[in-house]
Symmetry: C2
Subunit: 229 residues, 2 copies
Amino acid sequence: MIQQENPQVIARTSLHRELVDRLQLLIIGGELAPGIKVPERDLCAQFGVSRTPLREALKVLASDGLVRLEPNRGAWVTTVTVSEVNEVFPVLGALDAISGELACEHITDAEIDEIRALHSQMIESYERRDLDSYFSINQKIHHAILLAARNDTLTTSCQALSLRMQRARYLANMTEGRWYDAVQEHEKILTFVAERNGKKLAKTLRDHMESKRVSVVRWLQNQDAASEE
Amino acid sequence: MIQQENPQVIARTSLHRELVDRLQLLIIGGELAPGIKVPERDLCAQFGVSRTPLREALKVLASDGLVRLEPNRGAWVTTVTVSEVNEVFPVLGALDAISGELACEHITDAEIDEIRALHSQMIESYERRDLDSYFSINQKIHHAILLAARNDTLTTSCQALSLRMQRARYLANMTEGRWYDAVQEHEKILTFVAERNGKKLAKTLRDHMESKRVSVVRWLQNQDAASEE
DNA sequence: TGACTTAATTATGAATTCAAAATTACGTTG
DNA sequence: CAACGTAATTTTGAATTCATAATTAAGTCA
């Protein structure tokens, strides 16, 4: 038998592209914590690659705002600041709104059913107070709407900005009250998707994002206050 | 005296960053025409750099959609397709709309005056039928509105998408009728900016972008038809 | 002892090198 | 002479090397 330790790896993609994906996961997963210096040497060892492709990946991540490059000093994982949140969420809101409008123009009955199913699962997660599951399904719903919008550019733009907001589980700041409200908002989202009511869906998605902004900012400020002790 | 043949080059920024900017200019200026293979070796010679920083820059440009990388085959300057235009313009429209809303919240009287002045200059360019000048001032107006929105994330997102639409002077498809309409739209834009009427400005900017989309698509299809002969 | 200088070490940025893939050129065969 | 297969060349992707900047450590002097 021919030696082939990872059969799935046809190595169809280049190293730097693979590294971009892996590093993104490390960053949004928190393994590469916000604020720390990117341990270039360690990562090279960990992935078994040389510095060249790793550094190429860092350049791409920097242009996406996930790391910050300082000339002759290296790369740092960016932190999520209040002002950044106040910038990004309104933009995401506008993009979500247009995605809702476009989705209503193109979505199929099957896709609506799928979103309905996801919604039910999400409600179950909510009732179990299973935050991880809730977030995961929540993302799937938003992604399903994006897919229905039939606009790859929009999808890419949204995901790039979402990534920046996902660093280090910042979204995990759900008070009981906020969580309840979010679920109510999602009920409206489902309704308007099912009705293919583009305008109302757009407005609901944008309001939803604004609520999220407020809630994330509040949490961040609590964090800041706590860390000052 | 110390030898210093290019005094302007303080080289404060890294090579790859500089190269990203230079290559962007070459691409949107048409010197690197859509569809051609990126002449890596030539560009290295032209800029007097090695392949490493140039290739880093290409990775960044690829993530911005200005070039397309094919594993083991190299990089190509992307072409503007009808479907891409149909994707990007609606997204740009949504971003422009939100930028109008935010601008009305933050813009100062001085900034309004500046936009008014730019608008007058643009009208003069229109009356002289000076397309280059018209486009240049047009861009400045949109940029001024973006600046007034006080949202760097929004600015970055808009500019990235705008760049993709600027390849090879595609915007230079102004019929007499379309040009007239565009100027009328800009009159409304100025009015609503001056009134700080966010909602109406948002709608006007979005409609403006939609008109642009239609016009660009029409022109692209004429191009395609012409090239098939 | 503490602040400042200077030397040693480390990390970064970019050029160079090298192996592998793709392309081109060439020769062979039907 | 056309199509296929093989060899030579070129190009790419990535590792390595090297010069320089930044950081740390050591030493000196008040």
